[in-house]
């Protein structure tokens, strides 16, 4: 199966001197879903930002066969869809439709084409009737779905979701899990929500202090670090 992500020896230090990643090796194959587990501050989100070229550390990062470098960033960002933890930072346009179409217009689609594609993506996440609403009028769950629509509209090969269940109520979590399960893309799920992780992923990678402490079957990795699957 072709590799979607190949990372070798990735190191990153923040400008304040904090060493966030200390030599990460990571692989993800086409159509595969993996959960990134680990305590807060262990480097999971920092790692994810490297896959989209938003942060650039030392080491080798290849996404969909492309080295993540300055020259390839535009193409890499077409392939990698990143859904941020806080939907409010992702929804910055005045209406839902404009927000979902934002990335499409940046890709060079005509306004008409962008409107159609954005509307289709909104239908996919069950928000088709909210296209004219302002994002600030949406509930947390709706915001999350719109943020996801903004990424799905771009038809990426890799979906990265950072704490996707934050602020979602149980029915919202179930709906999101159903939606994600049916998407064909490779997925990286950064989460502390173990039942949700189990609903989407079979493999897990455990981060600890900027290193990969363990990887393997989700249940095995979770059990090794005492992370259980009970709902809160």
């Amino acid at each position: 199966m072709p590799a979607v992500v190949e990372v070798r020896g990735l190191r990153y230090r923040y400008p304040d001197g904090t060493e966030a990643l200390k030599g990460i090796d990571f692989d993800l194959n086409e159509g595969e879903s993996v959960a990134l587990l680990g305590p807060n501050g262990s480097g999971k989100s920092t790692f994810a930002l490297h896959l989209n070229g938003l942060l650039r550390g030392q080491g080798e990062v290849r996404v969909c066969g492309m080295d993540v470098t300055g020259a390839s960033l535009r193409d890499v960002r077409r392939k990698v869809g990143l859904v941020f933890q806080d939907s409010d930072t992702q929804l910055f346009m005045p209406t839902v439709l404009e927000d979902v179409a934002f990335g499409l217009l940046n890709q060079g689609l005509s306004p008409e084409g962008a409107r159609k594609t954005a509307q289709t993506a909104l239908e996919l996440v069950g928000m088709g009737r909210s296209s004219e609403r302002g994002p600030h009028h949406l509930s947390a769950g709706e915001k999350k779905r719109v943020a996801l629509a903004g990424i799905l509209a771009l038809e990426p090969d890799l979906l990265i979701l950072d704490e996707p269940t934050t602020f979602l109520d149980p029915p919202g979590q179930r709906a999101l899990a159903d939606l994600l399960r049916n998407l064909p893309q490779a997925k990286i799920l950064i989460t502390h929500d173990m039942p949700f992780a189990r609903a989407i992923c079979s493999r897990a990678v455990f981060f600890h202090e900027g290193c990969v402490a363990a990887e393997g079957k989700l249940e095995t990795v979770a059990a090794r670090f005492g992370w259980d699957f009970s709902t809160h």
Partner: protein, 234 residues
């Protein structure tokens, strides 16, 4: 992120909203030129121009009183210079300053209240305004709401704990800017992740047509006519 009334107004569907941004921009320029270069019988001309603007707000289904109240935000700034002019023995200049600044603000409000910002900046790009400047304007506009948003959150948090003293408020101001900065950074990151290259592209465009030519002719002609009539009137 919350958006203010002006943003809501700009999403309307009145005949004025449907006109191309370039036509409105041209009319605004003529209107401001007429106002800025007026010397004689300014109060009379100002009255006529105010009537044109009020008619514009009516056509755009924007409450004129609400618009007039918002435009008054400019008065404290120009008021200072007007007072200085008055005190230095030039009351006519002081009145001129107040009238011109207030009407200019009202005119700009009519433009931004009937034209979404991306469309407006798109038309400025067509007339070769520097892209860097336009990007700065767009970000300034977006991040202004962000600061207001953060301030509202902090005020609510303080109110929940019994309010805020003056001393605490001054400290909170620094926190507000730090928080707004980190949030702005996060938003910029999210934009970059979706291929933002420094240029905002409008989703809805109003191509320039015959109706826009007619509109520009009328909208630019009215202030010119008012100026000619007030200059001529004795």
């Amino acid at each position: 992120m919350s958006y203010n009334a002006v943003e809501e107004w700009s999403r309307g569907s009145s005949p004025l909203h449907r006109r191309a941004a370039a036509a409105k921009l041209f009319s605004l320029t003529v209107f401001l030129l007429v106002l800025a270069t007026a010397q004689r019988r300014l109060p009379l001309l100002a009255g006529a121009l105010a009537l044109i603007l009020i008619a514009g707000f009516q056509v755009a289904s924007i409450p004129p009183l609400a618009a007039m109240w918002r435009a008054a935000a400019v008065l404290p700034f120009t008021g200072l210079f007007a007072v200085m002019s008055w005190m230095s023995g030039n009351p006519t200049h002081a009145v001129e300053l107040m009238l011109k600044s207030y009407l200019s603000a009202l005119t700009v409000l009519l433009l931004v209240g009937t034209t979404p910002i991306p469309e407006l900046l798109g038309s400025l790009e067509l007339v070769k305004a520097p892209r860097f400047l336009l990007t700065v304007v767009q970000f300034l506009y977006r991040y202004l709401f962000l600061v207001v948003d953060e301030a509202a959150h902090m005020r609510a948090a303080a109110a929940a704990r019994g309010g805020m003293t003056f001393q605490a408020a001054s400290g909170a101001l620094a926190v507000l800017f730090v928080r707004s900065h980190s949030r702005a950074e996060a938003i910029h990151r999210a934009m970059t992740a979706r291929g933002f290259d420094g240029r905002f592209r409008p989703l809805f465009e109003h191509p320039f047509g015959a109706k826009d030519v007619q509109f520009a002719a009328v909208a630019a002609g009215l202030p010119l006519l008012a100026r000619v009539l007030t200059d001529w009137y004795r």
